[in-house]
Symmetry: C3
Subunit: 137 residues, 3 copies
Amino acid sequence: MKLVKEEIEIETRKLYEVIDITEKVEAVLEKSKIKNGILFANSLHNTAALIIQENDSSIFKDLEKSLEKIFPLNEKYEHSYEGNINATAHLKNCFLGNSISVPIENGKLQLGTWQRIMFIELFEARNRKVVITIIGE
Amino acid sequence: MKLVKEEIEIETRKLYEVIDITEKVEAVLEKSKIKNGILFANSLHNTAALIIQENDSSIFKDLEKSLEKIFPLNEKYEHSYEGNINATAHLKNCFLGNSISVPIENGKLQLGTWQRIMFIELFEARNRKVVITIIGE
Amino acid sequence: MKLVKEEIEIETRKLYEVIDITEKVEAVLEKSKIKNGILFANSLHNTAALIIQENDSSIFKDLEKSLEKIFPLNEKYEHSYEGNINATAHLKNCFLGNSISVPIENGKLQLGTWQRIMFIELFEARNRKVVITIIGE
């Protein structure tokens, strides 16, 4: 059994930017030479999300609209010293999560046909980091 | 340390069908002979959820009602070419998640007294797949 | 590759108590002597949450307010035999989740600058258990 760890850097440009990081993750997997096992991706941030979904912009427009309705910007928040976009970013992160796992089969990510690894910026332009951990053989 | 992987097939019959897959997962664990470690279950779908909860139908009736209120069917969605049930299924998946982990103790799933592994269909009758990965000794 | 498992006990005192368990988790990691790998924390409960977030009470006041709005106490719930706080606790758990993972780097939890491991009581005063599983070398 082998363990491989590597960091992926993501530069986001604005609130609600959605970035498909599947290829970057696959590159780490390929380099690891691990053929069978499981891969973990952990985002090191409290105001961004990391999920598995279809890479279809219409889904993320709907997600944005839902998030704005559930966590409205024009309400009073306690965590307000960086503004309401930041306050609600923390809440959205709590609901969407910041880590995923993907099984590995024959040296490839075992994702469903339409599944992709999607990073969602919930605050503003930032340098973000995702740690990839692979365990397998 | 040992690694075991196996796929579980689930045939769902309708929207909001909730299926307790704990016994199927336990069967994979038993066959693996792994006594101590951790098990991962990854659903390969963007319109279904995989969570740990109590297997009590009243909870899932409440969950259905909450989901319908948060993601109403009678709104306009961008991801509409498969209808609004599909559009909202993607959103519900983003919030509920599609993977879980369970520690293994003495060859058994180490779940809380009332915890079970529950698969929730969020779209329509489908053949679904969950990948089980077990790491342990 | 090494595997270490240990349980953490948490005594909560009331609904919405938020407990930073990062130091308890770090103590398990330190004892394990594992320098590189990944750590999993699994809460064995359906009415509490385990998430990664900033340890700032203002965020959790906002989270409480959001949860109360999304899952109002003054509605009719099917899962009502332990009261509506319990009914909504199950729903909140479905959305927030009950497990997290953290990479390990140089024998330390590899968390972002403001990330902490936070346990949230969603029901009432209870003895809670979180299982820590560490895989690494």
